[in-house]
Symmetry: C2
Subunit: 122 residues, 2 copies
DNA sequence: TTGCCGTCAATGCAGCTGCATGTAACACTC
DNA sequence: GAGTGTTACATGCAGCTGCATTGACGGCAA
């Protein structure tokens, strides 16, 4: 799935969410949007910061929180990544299932997902 | 999916394959049976050996190969693991999909899998 | 025999997950 | 305002993946 030489897909996801939220996100918001565990977000953010793709600054409204904000390199990378990923997704999934099959697959996976979430947050 | 306090599912798989092959397997055979990458097998085996679940001995017929053989603790663990995993699988998948849905899901996943393999081993 | 190539396996590096636990800041109650 | 509980985030530990490279051996052809 991963386009060689490019950062992981999760990085793309995270950067995308940050770009959508013009004023930065708190980690907890990113967690919700990405459906990742708290510690996964924490470490993902750590790597992204190390790669200079985002800034992690204190939240003025909540001393516990951190505001995550895209850096310019983050924006640039986001721009550069999309074409490669679109092609990979098409290659690996698009080519395997036709439209109707993809819809069925999505609906089945959604059922599993709902079930899983129901168990996690009852 | 993981039953708390038990080793990972992959360990169970590996031990099971070893038990099936009465005279031990070479790593390359385990690789084929588990559909894991060469380095994944190598490291999985390393951990299993460290946990004293298998022995890794030189293959008399091929100086490059290693023969993987279950130890007694390996056999015992295998015995102990099954009930817990069966329950977990039922809980997470069995309860989410009815029989017909499960069959559809399996067939769709198989298509994706076939497609992926076709690309990897053309 | 020697030389080359392919095969079997190990390993460094980096990203990711889950579990458990720790720390700091907030919020609510008495 | 102190005590108690909750929330936001970080982190140690261990298992796992993928990529790239290496080392050792086997097989074969010149």
């Amino acid at each position: 799935m991963k386009a060689a030489g490019f950062p992981p897909l999760a990085w793309y996801d995270a950067l995308l969410e940050l770009r959508r939220a013009a004023n930065g996100l708190r980690a907890v918001d990113l967690e919700e949007r990405m459906l990742l565990a708290q510690y996964s977000i924490s470490r993902l953010v750590e790597r992204l910061e190390r790669a200079d793709l985002l800034d992690r600054r204190p939240d003025p409204d909540d001393g516990r929180g951190r505001l995550l904000v895209l850096t310019q390199p983050g924006r640039d990378l986001l721009q550069a990544m999309w074409p490669a990923y679109a092609a990979a997704i098409q290659r690996h999934l698009g080519a395997a299932l036709d439209k109707q099959e993809a819809v069925r697959m999505a609906s089945l996976l959604q059922k599993v997902l709902d079930h899983g979430l129901a168990e996690i947050r009852p």
